[in-house]
């Protein structure tokens, strides 16, 4: 979806605030991080679904709020949509009924973190593109979650590497399905993305691109 999260190339934000060196600003941000990961370990949603929940935040609110507010919004939405909480519970803060679920205990946390969620998959279809091919990215603007940023749509780049087939984020978010799609590292010149006048000299942007995002060979 073309949400406020898709920030690449936007103007007007001013310099990077390098005073913000820490990971958490305040204890509540630690809590949002811990609650999000702990609830995620219930396995009711996957990473792409949690990204999509944050992306659906009202654009003005997204841009005007801090990073962990995005996470808090996403967590509340996921808890409601997966019916782990009711709207009445969320609003009142009172569990009704209480104690109905089984939390992931502390003892299991290190193992789950170590295991992670690998996305590399076997794929029966062979990769269409080879290193060195020039390709054009599809100009598509789906309403669902996708990982093709706006700034490369319709643009041409060169295939630099094939990463094998990985879980396709669009289907993973929409249907919870693990569909393998070939993944490439695609190199775009600054001029191709930003135009001759705005692009900085000698800059290249490498984007990880799933095969369905590619329209075809570029001349």
């Amino acid at each position: 979806m073309d949400g406020a999260h898709d920030l690449g190339g936007m103007h007007g934000f001013g310099p990077v605030d390098r005073s913000q060196q820490q990971n958490f600003v305040g204890e509540w941000e630690e809590k949002v991080f811990g609650l999000t990961l702990a609830c995620g370990m219930q396995g009711k949603w996957n990473l792409d679904q949690s990204r999509f929940a944050r992306e659906r935040m009202d654009p003005a609110h997204y841009l005007g709020s801090s990073y962990y507010e995005h996470w808090l919004h996403g967590l509340e939405l996921l808890l409601l949509e997966s019916k782990l909480l009711s709207i009445e519970e969320l609003e009142s803060g009172i569990a009704n009924p209480a104690g109905v679920f089984e939390p992931v205990p502390q003892e299991r946390v290190p193992g789950l973190l170590e295991q992670g969620s690998p996305t590399l998959m076997e794929c029966e279809r062979s990769a269409i593109w080879q290193v060195g091919d020039r390709v054009r990215i599809r100009n598509e603007h789906p309403h669902h979650h996708t990982r093709v940023p706006r700034y490369i749509r319709g643009r041409c780049g060169e295939i630099m590497r094939h990463y094998g087939a990985h879980i396709f984020p669009d289907a993973h978010s929409e249907r919870g399905e693990k569909v393998p799609e070939h993944l490439y590292s695609v190199r775009f010149s600054g001029e191709e993305l930003w135009g001759d006048k705005a692009a900085e000299a000698k800059s290249a942007i490498f984007v990880d691109v799933f095969e369905p995002y590619i329209e075809g060979t570029a001349s």
Partner: protein
């Protein structure tokens, strides 16, 4: 709640609206049986105190001193990094990109905040903020200047936008006059920002100054 207190934070002022909202949600999730407070502490403690950029610095220092390891690292970063004991969430598939006298690499996630947790820990707030995410891809040299990195005009800047589950780590250039240093001493020189690609590793005299 008694086992979920943070003694280093004391609130004397009333809680802000968002602090209240988070506190209420935490209580609710614990009451529902969705969250074990000790699991939550474990998660925060892991990334606040145990997993961080010292891991990445050890990988870099080894690559600087062990050419055979460096080759493995550039060819198959996931297993070369796992060999050092760093693996798991947000580092399941790793790619290392090498800085040279002709190429400078920097990493961003324009769509969210993807970052290689097992080797760098959690990202600094500026990495997740709009300005860096918007500008790293369109004006990387200007961003680097803000970080105090001045590149020669003939150096190519390569920006890696982390749009899939591949996580990127920059292998910075080894500074001059470090031939006498061992791996541990070299690792001391490598800061987080150099592995994101928004800093260079200073020579030891500069670091000491």
């Amino acid at each position: 709640m008694s086992n979920h207190q943070h003694p280093h934070h004391h609130h004397t002022a009333p809680l802000s609206e968002i602090e209240q909202r988070v506190k209420q949600l935490e209580t609710l999730l614990v009451d529902k049986g969705l969250v074990d407070p000790r699991a939550m502490d474990e998660l925060v403690d892991t990334y606040e105190h145990r997993v961080g950029p010292r891991n990445g610095a050890r990988v870099v220092a080894r690559a600087w001193t062990d050419p055979e390891y460096k080759q493995r690292l550039l060819e198959d970063a996931t297993s070369a990094i796992m060999e050092m004991g760093y693996a798991g969430r947000q580092g399941e598939h790793m790619q290392v990109v090498e800085n040279t006298d002709k190429v400078h690499n920097m990493v961003v996630c324009t769509l969210c905040s993807c970052y290689p947790w097992p080797v760098l820990g959690l990202p600094p707030t500026w990495y997740k903020a709009s300005s860096y995410r918007a500008r790293a891809v369109s004006e990387p040299r200007a961003v680097l200047e803000e970080f105090g990195v001045h590149l020669d005009p003939d150096v190519e800047v390569r920006v890696w936008d982390s749009t899939s589950e591949i996580r990127y780590l920059v292998l910075p250039r080894r500074p001059d006059n470090t031939e006498h240093l061992n791996q541990d001493q070299l690792a001391e020189l490598v800061e987080r920002d150099a592995m994101i690609g928004v800093a260079l590793v200073p020579a030891p005299t500069e670091a000491a100054a």
